[in-house]
């Protein structure tokens, strides 16, 4: 087994296990911790794809900042205790069937002769592709189509912030 493949499996198996534990744990705090573990492993996956910058952002923003907010909200709502979840028969079965179907779809498309095309990446572009500089050039170069969606994303975030305040604040 090539080392790259070995690393992939070493990261992928615990990653999927953590994701499953996030949704099966009864304690929300435990779910949050498994989510942190999942995101850290995902950062490792990015690293193994030589995307250092994305890996760092994944740790700082998702595993760090966003998870702090998650835990904060859980503590604030005092959801520490185990919550009873009533597993209604049909809905539960449908949910499992749907997720198994999706999983089969993704695994299937990956395993069968898929139409995956080799990207334009070479060893050289891969080596510099993951740095903050390379990501920055890709995002802000007006010759590339990514500048516009990047700016639009800021409006999407503004919309989300305004919406959250409007819905959450009792008296504006």
């Amino acid at each position: 087994m090539r080392p790259g493949v070995l690393i992939f499996w070493l990261l992928a198996v615990p990653m999927v296990a953590c994701a499953l534990l996030v949704i099966t744990s009864r304690n929300p705090l435990r779910s949050a911790l498994f989510l942190v573990a999942h995101m850290l492993l995902l950062a490792g996956m990015f690293l193994s794809l030589s995307a250092q910058y994305v890996a760092a952002v994944q740790v700082v923003v998702y595993a760090g900042a966003i998870m702090v907010l998650f835990v904060f909200v859980i503590m604030l709502l005092n959801l520490g205790g185990a919550q009873k979840m009533d597993a209604a028969g049909l809905g539960w079965a449908l949910g499992i069937a749907m997720s198994l179907g999706l999983a089969a779809l993704f695994v299937g498309t990956g395993v069968w002769k898929s139409g995956l095309h080799a990207g334009k990446a070479t060893a050289k572009t891969l080596a510099q592709g993951g740095t903050a500089q390379a990501v920055g050039f890709a995002l802000f170069d007006p010759e590339l189509p990514w500048l516009f969606p990047f700016e639009v994303a800021s409006i999407v975030l503004l919309m989300a912030a305004v919406g959250a305040i409007v819905l959450a604040k009792r008296k504006l």
């Binding site: 498309t109 898929s114 500048l147 504006l172």
Partner: protein, 503 residues
């Protein structure tokens, strides 16, 4: 010289979006002044000015620079975009008029409502202008976020909260599925730009498992947004729970944005029609049958319009299916172009009738009564003839009765699908339309032939506020919808210069 002129050209291509963003930011920044006191009367006019301004900018700019890609291929301008945007912004303006009166009478008015509306409209415009699936997705999210918030705008009303939560959760699921589809598209096409996707499809990408999965996930994601069967479960609860003005807005905006994006996506992947066309046909037929059948059983007008919306999603999907005929000879190409123009006209007729109908419900609502059920409409023709007969007209247009805009829209789509040679879809469309007439006419029956349940509002006390409201926004919206519905039903050519899609 090259770079700055290019930037100006790019920005002028998205000028309507920039106008919407600008006015939305003005409203948000000025919110402290617009919230109470004399400034509170200005919030709605500002919102209306934003939508109208974007519409005027669109009409002024629609002579040159078509068929161009903007921002290095992220966005584009073409006649499908400009005609869809015309319908969308007109609907947005009318929705502002409805909201102005309704929010005021229900004591819900906040300046943020209008800012969110404008941002949501800009998201729908982005969906129509997207030349890249990433931009399409961002537009979809920008539009949807606003619609979730508007659905839950009546915060103290449990039904409104429920509507927002249901819409959000199912919408998030749909977005996730669509994002998976975009990811797999990147897998087969090594790009998310539509032209590259098109050439990948031409190379046979949709014959591979990953391509098939990508196409189906994209279709499912968009079908959620237009509430097509079996992805329609959210729509009745959301339509019913959301404040009536928000229902009018979200029903039209989501449908216009998603259908135009749908037309574009399916036009792009027309080369692989054998993969997705059967799915779209099945969803269209199911939507037409299920939507019309369940609508018959509804006594709540908002829920009935939700199921009728499902049926209309089915009719519009017939037009989307026509995109698959594009590469099947000259007849097929002709059918696909006819279907694009037809779908946009259909959306216009639908938006006018739907905003008009919700406008009538909004008109009848007051602080302590939210008009929703058939009983609320009982005997309206004798108690308030103008509003009553306006509602009758909107129902006739939704049913597709000749001499209304709804008939012309339906006829254009019907004609397109017949040109494409798909008799099964055409027959289903005709039969289910006939089925739909029943429940629209039941509303008419309640308005015209049933006795008014409540005594006429006395000129003193609570009843008095029903009168002067005719002068405010919702009255104007109902009037415009009425005139346009009849006008377009008799003279559809009057507007064809804005609405014809050219390729």
């Amino acid at each position: 010289m090259g770079a700055p002129t290019q930037a100006i050209r790019d920005l002028s291509g998205i000028l309507p979006i920039l106008v919407l963003w600008g006015v939305a930011l003005v409203i948000l920044l000025g919110a402290p002044l617009l919230r109470r006191g004399p400034g509170s009367r200005l919030a709605a006019p500002l919102g209306g000015a934003g939508a109208l301004g974007a519409l005027l900018v669109l009409l002024r700019g629609s002579s040159d620079g078509f068929g161009d890609t903007l921002f290095a291929g992220a966005a584009l301008t073409d006649t499908l975009y400009s005609s869809g945007a015309f319908v969308l912004l007109l609907g947005g303006f009318l929705s502002v008029l409805v909201a102005q009166t309704y929010l005021r009478s229900r004591d819900l008015e906040k300046p943020e409502y209008y800012a969110i509306m404008l941002l949501s409209l800009s998201g729908a415009l982005l969906m129509m202008q997207a030349n890249d699936l990433i931009v399409l997705f961002l537009g979809l999210e920008l539009m949807s976020f606003g619609l979730y918030v508007l659905a839950g705008f009546a915060r103290t009303d449990a039904k409104s909260d429920e509507a927002a939560l249901k819409y959000f959760l199912l919408g998030a699921l749909a977005s996730a599925l669509m994002l998976y589809g975009i990811m797999l598209t990147y897998g087969v096409a090594a790009s998310t730009e539509l032209s590259n996707v098109q050439s990948a499809v031409a190379r046979g990408a949709l014959k591979e498992p990953m391509g098939i999965a990508a196409a189906l996930l994209l279709v499912i994601g968009l079908c959620f947004k237009i509430a097509a069967v079996p992805f329609h479960q959210w729509s009745p609860d959301v339509y019913e729970g959301a404040p009536t003005s928000a229902t009018a807005f979200l029903a039209t905006t989501a449908k216009i944005g998603a259908i135009v994006a749908f037309l574009r996506v399916c036009d792009t992947i027309a080369g692989g029609y054998h993969t997705w066309l059967p799915a779209i046909r099945a969803i269209a037929i199911l939507s037409m049958i299920v939507g019309n059948l369940i609508a018959i059983a509804q006594t709540n007008v908002k829920r009935m319009l939700a199921y009728s919306g499902v049926a209309h999603a089915g009719y519009l999907l017939v037009a989307v299916a026509c995109m698959g005929f594009r590469l099947m000879g000259t007849k097929g190409t002709q059918a696909s172009i006819l279907a694009m123009t037809g779908a946009v006209f259909y959306l216009l007729a639908y938006a006018l009738a739907l905003i008009g109908a919700f406008g009538v419900l909004a008109y009848l609502s007051s602080r302590d009564k939210d008009a929703q059920t058939l009983n609320d409409l009982r005997g309206l023709a004798s108690s308030q003839p103008a509003v009553g007969y306006a509602m009758v007209l909107f129902m006739l247009s939704l049913a597709g009765i000749p001499a209304t805009a709804g008939f012309i829209g339906k006829w254009q789509v019907f004609y397109a699908v017949l040109t494409g040679g798909d008799v099964a879809l055409a027959v289903t469309m005709a039969l289910t339309s006939a089925m739909g007439v029943y429940y629209y006419l039941r509303v008419v029956w309640y308005i015209v032939f049933e006795e008014s349940a409540a005594p006429k509002p006395s000129p003193t006390g609570h009843g008095v506020e029903a009168r002067p409201r005719a002068m405010t926004g919702v009255g104007a919206a109902i009037t415009i919808c009425c005139i346009a519905t009849i006008g377009l039903g008799i003279l559809p050519a009057a507007i064809s210069s804005f609405l014809t899609v050219v390729r």
